[in-house]
């Protein structure tokens, strides 16, 4: 059925937005307005504050950069010097004062305990000093030696004195005594002597500096 309203306009009932639709519009506006407000709060409140803090910190960092660069330049210079000192330390630390060692050997031979303990003299002396490591020796002092006594006990006594002398700071203990007795020389005094090898191995640089 078709319903036709024939009433004049002034008598017709006014057209109104339906209440449900109005509710929808209102909800839509409320939601979007809230979102706009939240965006505005983050954009002009939090973001601005964070940006401001970031700018201040960047300024601070920029102010520190020259000082940091100065520090780093000093560190670089210091590292170069430290490397040089380390190398010099290695060079000088490896050095053995051979004057001192040979002088102490001469002292020991001359003192001989009470000068009546043993009579020692040498044919030669070979001293070598190397970098050592990997099973190699760090150096040695070797010599063909003689004791003007008829007994090997005096040789043992001499080697024991070396172990107890200041030379022991740089040298390992000498090898156990070996040697051979030489026949009597009629025209020389003392006539009987013992020939023996003197061999002393140098300790490592670390052991030498520790003691």
């Amino acid at each position: 059925m078709i319903l036709i309203n024939l009433l004049p306009d002034e008598y017709r009932q006014k057209e109104r937005t339906p209440l449900k639709y109005f509710g929808l519009i209102a909800a839509s506006v409320a939601v979007n307005a809230s979102l706009v407000a939240f965006w505005a709060w983050t954009a002009f409140g939090i973001a601005a504050e964070v940006s401001g803090e970031l700018a201040v910190l960047e300024d601070n960092r920029d102010g520190l950069i020259p000082q940091v660069e100065y520090h780093q330049a000093l560190e670089k210079e210091s590292a170069v010097f430290a490397a040089r000192e380390k190398t010099l330390g290695e060079i000088t630390g490896n050095r053995v004062s051979w004057t001192e060692q040979v002088d102490q050997l001469v002292d020991l031979i001359n003192d001989g305990g009470d000068q009546e303990k043993y009579l020692i003299w040498l044919d030669n002396m070979r001293i070598s000093q190397t970098q050592g490591g990997r099973g190699q020796k760090f150096g040695s002092l070797t010599s063909g030696a003689h004791s003007g006594t008829a007994s090997l006990v005096n040789v043992t006594s001499f080697l024991r004195d070396i172990e107890q002398s200041p030379m022991a700071r740089l040298f390992e203990d000498p090898a156990p005594p070996t040697g051979s007795r030489q026949e009597q020389a009629e025209d020389l005094q003392p006539a009987e002597i013992w020939n023996f090898p003197l061999s002393l191995d140098l300790k490592s640089p670390e052991e030498r500096t520790q003691q």
């Binding site: 970031l54 960092r61 520190l64 210079e77 000068q115 003007g148």
Partner: protein, 472 residues
């Protein structure tokens, strides 16, 4: 679809679209904020690290200053190119000073030992020379004590043959040395960083710099020469004549031992004589000493003439401890009589007399005693044992002389003004003088009291009695 429904759909769609757009905007906004917050955290950490680093800068500056100054010291210790050229000259100088005879010098292997370190270049030399053990030691010592770093890496000594003993005054051994040094030629490092007020900061670090440089310096060994020692590379056995019958080794050692005991006893006698408290005791001890020295000297000459000692150790001990000991005793006894000044006993006697005179206020007599003995004091004070007595005599003389000088000064005290809570004032020689003021050259008023005034004069406190009535 009715228009009503369409309107609903369009409205809802527009609402959702708008909300989605705004949500996206908010999402990206939040992302940006989050990123900035992360950046802030990183910057804060960076700044904290930078500040911590900068905090260490003053210590690093100190360290670099010390290192720079130490580096200058390294350049002094290690050779430069010019020094290497002088190295050979130095070796020849050492050979002249130590009497070794250099026969060969050539360059050794280079650049061993400091691989990868461009700043230090090894320079080695092989040296061949002849000399006895003590010349070798003296030469080695010169090399190892040289102002520039030098190291001996190898020694090869072959002893002089026995046949040389009769031909040469001193048998010379053949020695081959390998020496090395390092040329310091810093290649890296560039320009030094500018340090503000460098000189002032260096001055403040002077003790640390000094300590570090002394640590770097290689301490040389103090070689004290031959000191009566025999050369261990010379066969010490002596030839004996087939017909001769010298005492046994035990008898020779015993003979020398007995003589050494006598020399030691004579030395004790000398010490007792030098420390004697009275002049009479000193004279008695010196007389005994002279007799013993004469007897020992005669014994030494007799043994030397008879040639009874042939065992090398006995001969060596006889020469060093007996002959040397008698010689030393003779020289000491002679020195005591001439050029030693007054004896300890005389000095003690003089000190006692001066003390007594000063206690009795006879200052002129104390000075007279000092003047009598004074010419010999310069010689006496060289002896450590006499030095305390000489110093005591000088102090007593200074005291007596000061008192005499003080007494000669005119000090006329005519008034005193002593008020509560005010500095006392004395009227001396017509002018008011307060405590601490100078009265004349070297004369300071030290303390004013109602009955006496103390003066400080030449480091001594002296007093004058006040013989007037105080004003208050």
């Amino acid at each position: 679809m009715s228009s009503e429904k369409k309107r609903w759909v369009v409205t809802i769609a527009l609402t959702l679209l708008c909300a989605a757009g705004l949500g996206t905007l908010i999402y990206y906004q939040e992302e940006a904020i989050q990123e900035k917050r992360v950046g802030i955290e990183q910057l804060k950490n960076q700044i904290a690290q930078d500040r911590a680093l900068i905090k260490q800068t003053p210590d690093l500056v100190k360290s670099v200053i010390v290192q720079r100054e130490t580096d200058a010291e390294i350049q002094k210790i290690l050779s430069d190119e010019e020094d290497v050229n002088n190295f050979v000259d130095a070796l020849y100088d050492f050979s002249t000073e130590t009497d070794v005879i250099i026969s060969n010098l050539d360059k050794g292997r280079q650049n061993r030992g400091v691989q990868g370190v461009q700043d230090f270049q090894r320079v080695a030399y092989n040296l061949t020379f002849k000399g006895d053990a003590f010349q070798l030691l003296a030469f080695l010592n010169k090399v190892e004590s040289y102002q520039r770093f030098m190291s001996v890496t190898s020694i090869d000594l072959t002893a002089a043959p026995r046949s040389d003993y009769e031909n040469a005054d001193v048998p010379l051994h053949s020695v081959k040395l390998e020496l090395e040094t390092y040329v310091y030629n810093p290649k890296q490092g560039g320009e030094a960083v500018q340090i503000d007020q460098y000189d002032r900061k260096r001055e403040l670090l002077i003790s640390e710099i000094s300590q570090r440089t002394s640590e770097l310096r290689v301490k040389p060994y103090e070689y004290r020469g031959q000191r009566s020692r025999r050369d261990p590379w010379i066969d010490p056995r002596v030839k004996i004549d087939p017909g001769a019958s010298p005492p046994t080794i035990a008898e020779q050692i015993e003979l020398v031992h007995a003589l050494i005991e006598r020399v030691d006893a004579a030395k004790l006698l000398l010490e007792e004589a030098q420390a004697a408290d009275t002049i009479i005791l000193e004279m008695k001890l010196r007389s005994s000493l002279e007799d013993e020295i004469a007897a020992l000297d005669a014994e030494v000459k007799r043994i030397q003439a008879e040639g009874r000692l042939v065992y090398v150790l006995a001969v060596k001990r006889f020469e060093s401890e007996v002959v040397g000991g008698v010689k030393w005793l003779t020289e000491e006894a002679d020195r005591a009589e001439a050029g030693q000044g007054p004896s300890l006993a005389i000095l003690r006697q003089a000190e006692k007399s001066m003390t007594e005179f000063i206690e009795h206020q006879d200052y002129e007599l104390a000075v007279d005693v000092f003047n009598t003995i004074e010419p010999g004091l310069l010689l006496a004070e060289v002896d450590e044992r006499k030095l305390p007595a000489v110093q005591a005599l000088r102090e007593l003389h200074t005291l007596a002389d000061t008192v005499i000088s003080f007494e000669a000064i005119t000090i006329n005290i005519t008034g005193l003004a002593i008020y509560k809570d005010a500095r006392p004032v004395a009227l001396i020689n017509g002018r008011p003088v307060a405590e601490g003021e100078l009265l004349g050259e070297e004369l300071i008023v030290r303390n004013i009291s109602t009955n006496r005034i103390e003066f400080a004069y030449r480091g001594v406190v002296l007093a004058r009695l006040v013989e007037i009535d105080p004003l208050n």
